[in-house]
């Protein structure tokens, strides 16, 4: 038996969470370092996964592990990664150390405000972050629907405590009011996602009933179901397939979040601390879009095609509505939240355009959006912690007092508006090209959002950073070393992936090819040859043809 790399990668942060939580109340600094250490170990393992992964190899999943777990439910402990999962695991493992570093002082408690000696929010904060990481990683790895569902749902609980338990004390109200708002935001987050998850549970059970009915034994194995469908052994009735698809999609759309199920996100991101907001939007929400690619499309290809028009329209509304509302925000963090809604619209658009550019672009978008939002949000968090306010109107002229802070904020902002040369440009361009080649009208309308993005980012920068220096801002210190350590690598990565996205595209393209072959979609023949697709010619046609055959 080979080394269970995937299991270990998920287990390391889980062990780290327990170890961190177990530290006594007085060892706060030790807890921070321990959490950082475990997150770095996870990063090393994630890089090892990326290193061991062979993009061109045959078969949809690599590094697979398979053990019996609950035979009575037809559930196996099945892990495996494709290129998309590898990219997202790497993203997750990469961001967590920065989240931990950025949140270094977010959960500090004053000695005299502690209600008793057992109260240890610092340990709790970092343990919860690691717990979320473990659950996110295992949901990227799971190829068994039940296993995925288990962690998809369970990660809500640590997330909920992170949102409700820790705030940035910058809402402009008293502490009591802030706590009440925070707990409202946390409850809203939980109820939305729980409702989505429970509806998905009905669909998961339905899937079991269907497979048990047709295959003799019920199964949740993604690969088995896909193969059985390809071999004609499994034939889900159209109506049933559509209902099951809707059950799955609803949960992922809440998580993603897609208009009109997005309303929990601005509250959750606005009320939580900046690192937790990054955790929500850059890490946890990616599970939703990832699951659309892995589960919705592959389990229910026909229903996916059936629902595509409606989903595209919803995604388009998300794109524009998120951007428009971002323009109108007065709160920095809520602005970034609405910008994220717009970006998730793009990701969904790319996924359901059902073209290879669109889906590669969507996957790249997930990674790039993670990095760029992390950069912007974390710098915004540093800014807010200095001034103690989230309102844009409370700032002005920051670039004169804290030039490095302003500069990094600008780069993060420019990445968010997809400036060419920075990583998000590549993905946004691919998504738009992919969408345009099949649905020209939608592609054109979505382009409007780029203009809106420029508007909300630049206006945000202008109002906070330029102009006369406000008195409250005058004594603002520039970025500290710890903060620079957080921001600099992210910005370097944004520039690197913007100039040279090939490592990512090489990783992602074969997996996208496989997904499309399962859905049985081919790219429309472009009237004009699109040469701008980076790595598009490296798809490995041999592999794809095999997959197409296997699917038939």
């Amino acid at each position: 038996m080979s080394f269970p790399l995937l299991t270990v990668t998920a287990a390391v942060p889980a062990v780290g969470a327990i170890a961190t939580a177990a530290l006594p109340a007085a060892r706060r600094t030790a807890a921070k370092w321990l959490a950082l250490l475990f997150s770095l170990a996870t990063l090393a393992l994630a890089l090892l996964i990326a290193f061991r992964f062979r993009p061109g190899a045959t078969g949809p999943y690599q590094l697979t592990e398979s053990h019996t777990w609950i035979p009575d439910f037809g559930v196996r402990y099945e892990l495996g990664v494709d290129g998309i999962a590898v990219a997202l695991i790497a993203l997750t493992a990469l961001l967590i150390p920065f989240v931990i570093l950025a949140g270094w002082h977010d959960a500090d408690v004053l000695e005299d405000t502690r209600p008793n000696r057992r109260w240890r929010p610092t340990q709790g904060f970092f343990a919860l972050i690691l717990a979320v990481e473990a659950m996110v990683v295992i949901s990227f790895e799971a190829t068994d629907v039940f296993l995925f569902y288990l962690f998809f749902e369970a990660m809500l609980i640590p997330m909920y405590f992170l949102i409700g338990g820790f705030g940035d004390r910058a809402g402009g109200h008293g502490e009591e009011e802030a706590a009440a708002q925070r707990s409202r935001a946390a409850v809203k987050f939980l109820l939305y996602n729980l409702a989505g998850g429970l509806i998905m549970l009905a669909a998961v059970i339905g899937l079991y009933a269907v497979t048990a009915d047709q295959l003799g034994t019920g199964t949740f194995s993604l690969q088995q179901i896909v193969e059985a469908r390809a071999a004609g052994k499994l034939d889900i009735a159209t109506g049933t397939e559509r209902l099951l698809f809707l059950g799955f999609f609803f949960a992922f759309a809440v998580k993603a979040p897609l208009w009109p199920l997005h309303t929990w996100l601005p509250g959750a991101m606005g009320e939580s601390t900046a690192p937790v907001a990054v955790l929500i939007t850059a890490v946890v929400d990616k599970v939703g879009t990832f699951a659309m690619l892995r589960f919705c499309l592959q389990l229910f290809p026909q229903a996916s095609s059936w629902a595509t028009p409606v989903i595209l329209v919803l995604a388009l509304i998300s794109v524009l509505y998120g951007a428009l509302l971002a323009v109108a925000q007065r709160d920095i963090k809520r602005l970034i939240a609405y910008a994220s809604i717009s970006h998730f619209g793009f990701i969904v658009l790319g996924i359901f355009a059902m073209t290879s550019q669109g889906q590669s672009g969507a996957t790249l978008y997930m990674v790039n959006h993670g990095i760029s939002t992390a950069a912007l949000m974390l710098v915004a968090g540093f800014l807010i912690s200095r001034r103690g306010s989230r309102l844009i109107a409370d700032y002005g002229g920051v670039q004169k007092v804290a030039p490095i802070l302003a500069g990094t904020f600008l780069v993060g902002g420019l990445a968010t508006l997809s400036l060419p040369g920075l990583a998000p440009f590549v993905s946004e361009f691919l998504v738009l090209v992919g969408t345009f080649s099949r649905y020209p009208a939608i592609g054109v309308i979505a382009t409007v959002a780029i203009v809106l993005a420029a508007l909300y980012v630049l206006v945000l920068y202008q109002r906070t950073m330029t102009g006369p220096v406000r008195d409250e801002v005058r004594a603002m210190p520039d970025l500290r070393v710890r903060e620079l350590v957080v921001v600099a690598p992210l910005i370097a990565l944004l520039i690197f992936l913007g100039v040279y996205p090939k490592p990512l595209t090489d990783l992602v393209n074969p997996a996208v090819g496989h997904t499309l072959s399962v859905v049985d979609k081919k790219d429309p023949q472009p009237a004009v040859q699109v040469d701008a697709v980076p790595g598009g010619d490296r798809r490995g046609p041999a592999v794809r043809d095999q997959d197409v055959e296997a699917a038939k």
């Binding site: 057992r118 962690f151 706590a179």
Partner: protein, 550 residues
């Protein structure tokens, strides 16, 4: 030999030759679990009569624990001896079934009871009265609340050690209830476990009037439901000419073969069958706490001493669902198309009703009562499946649910203020900051109730919904998950209250329990997590135990 015939011949022989009644054939070894518990109960009564007051507590506790453990060992022995599968048969001349579901449920009841007895025996939570350690039960049950006799009893340091034999009697009845194989045994078992429960409900040390009120309500409504059940039994006898399960099932499927001359006018009359079975099922649904027979649940759960509430919520539900399963699967499978739509309605009403009304509750015990109603609805979804998977999922759910319930009520006993247990929800604000560990444990139980993955609640819920979906009740599953979503709201609300609200200055304190309650809670947590993470062994066990002997 058919047991109907054997009973019949017994009576004819007896009638012919008075004074020469042959002894019935009883398989004592196979009835050992029940006999051990009932025997210990009798010994317990003797202890009350003959031992000095100061040594009763320890003697009773030791006796109860030993008896329950021995009975549990007997159940394991019977199951290991193959009585759960290959050697399953009907013992005691047709009165008691010894088969998989019976043994599984008896094992569950005994384990639950063992843990519950620990919480009964807890004497560190209430402040000592006049230097004597006291438990949750009244000093002298017969003394008028607030009267002179009560004061004297408290001063003398009396404790009601009778609770141990009383609860043993109740457990004995519960062991027979899911194994009963004829309607009269069913009725007697019902009475044997109900009467002690009525008494236990009235025995609270604090808030005695509330406790006595709950007992009266429980008794009156319980008596009603017993009457319904008994009337149903009579009608079914009129229909089938017999009270054994297999006999009635035979008449339902094949029609009456030998018309008893005395019942010539009624035998085979479907009206009697329908009304009779409806009444019997009604009596059982009352014990289960299903809507619309749930009215007693919140009041009784609130008023009864909390250890009793926990015991009732867990063990009674197991026993009653066991009896309901056997009745529907053994006696009335031929009537499936008649009862399934009705039970659909009951299940939907129960799930939604319990979940919705629970939202407005302000008392933690009442909230848990409504939550138990919602859970009864989920279990009914598994009952309706009418398949082996349905049986095994219900068995599993009952096991998983009872330990969560016991643990949750045990935590409730810990949170106290000057007036005893602080069951007002508002008083729980900020508990997570005062005592993070207790709040975290309670949060685990709440998450299990809510059916969050990685807890036993999720596994159980998945099992029953899966069974329901496989039997074609897809829409029932949808209603089920919707009411789970509603139910999640009020569980989460308690978590918010505990962790995200500021503690009140005059808030309750968390008492430090003795190892007894600690064991009960720790056992609950362990079972909750093990059944959530590695449920296969227990699912398999439930799956093996899912065949009723007919």
């Amino acid at each position: 030999m058919s047991s109907v015939a054997s009973v019949h011949s017994l009576w004819t022989v007896a009638a012919d030759m008075p004074g020469r009644i042959p002894a019935p054939h009883i398989e004592y070894a196979q009835l050992a679990p029940t006999l051990i518990v009932l025997g210990a109960a009798v010994v317990g009564v003797l202890i009350e009569a003959f031992l000095p007051r100061r040594s009763r507590y320890y003697a009773q506790l030791l006796l109860s624990v030993v008896a329950l453990a021995a009975a549990f060992a007997a159940v394991i022995g019977l199951a290991a001896g193959g009585f759960g599968s290959a050697k399953a048969h009907i013992a005691a001349m047709g009165a008691i079934a010894v088969d998989g579901p019976a043994l599984f449920l008896q094992g569950t009841i005994l384990l639950v009871s063992l843990i519950a007895v620990f919480t009964f025996a807890e004497r560190r939570l209430d402040p000592a009265a006049h230097g004597n350690r006291v438990d949750s039960f009244a000093a002298q049950a017969a003394a008028v609340p607030g009267g002179k006799a009560e004061q004297a009893a408290v001063k003398a340091g009396f404790t009601t050690t009778e609770v141990f034999p009383i609860v043993l009697f109740a457990i004995g009845g519960m062991l027979v209830f899911p194994a009963a194989n004829d309607l009269l045994t069913l009725f007697i078992a019902l009475e044997v476990f109900s009467l002690p429960l009525y008494i236990l409900c009235a025995l609270a040390r604090r808030q005695r009037l509330l406790s006595q009120e709950s007992a009266v309500k429980y008794f009156l409504l319980g008596a009603f439901s017993s009457a319904f059940l008994l009337f149903g039994v009579a009608l079914l006898y009129g229909y089938a000419g017999t009270v054994t399960y297999s006999g009635i099932a035979e008449v339902i499927s094949d029609g009456a073969k030998q018309i008893d001359p005395a019942l010539a006018g009624t035998m085979g009359n479907d009206v009697l069958l329908l009304i009779g079975s409806a009444l019997v099922v009604m009596g059982l649904l009352f014990k289960v706490g299903a809507v619309p027979f749930h009215m007693w649940t919140p009041d009784v759960y609130q008023g009864a001493p909390t250890p009793v509430t926990g015991f009732m919520a867990a063990a009674t539900k197991v026993a009653a669902f066991g009896a309901l399963l056997r009745l529907l699967y053994v006696v009335l499978p031929g009537l499936r198309w008649d009862w399934r739509p009705v039970m659909w309605g009951v299940a939907i009403l129960t799930m939604l009703g319990g979940a919705i009304v629970a939202i407005t509750q302000t008392d933690i015990k009442r909230m848990l009562a409504y939550s138990s109603i919602a859970h009864a609805g989920f279990i009914l979804a598994g009952v309706i499946a009418t398949s082996e998977n349905g049986i095994s999922s219900v068995l599993f759910y009952l096991g998983a649910y009872s330990f969560v319930t016991l643990g949750a009520f045990a935590v409730v006993t810990l949170v106290r203020d000057a007036g005893g247990e602080a069951t007002q929800l508002s008083k729980w604000a900020g508990l997570g900051r005062r005592s993070p560990l207790v709040a975290a444990v309670f949060a685990i139980f709440l998450l299990a109730f809510a059916g969050i993955p990685l807890t036993s609640g999720f596994t159980g819920k998945f099992a029953v919904f899966k069974a329901a979906a496989e039997s074609g009740a897809g829409w029932l599953v949808v209603v089920g998950v919707l009411s789970s979503a509603i139910a999640a709201f009020f569980y989460i609300r308690v978590i918010v209250l505990m962790f995200f609200n500021e503690p009140k200055a005059e808030g309750p304190t968390v008492a430090v329990p003795s190892p007894l309650t600690t064991t009960a809670i720790a056992f609950g947590v362990v079972v909750t997590l093990v059944l959530g993470l590695a449920p296969q062994y227990f699912l398999h066990l439930a799956g093996q135990a899912s065949v009723f002997i007919r």
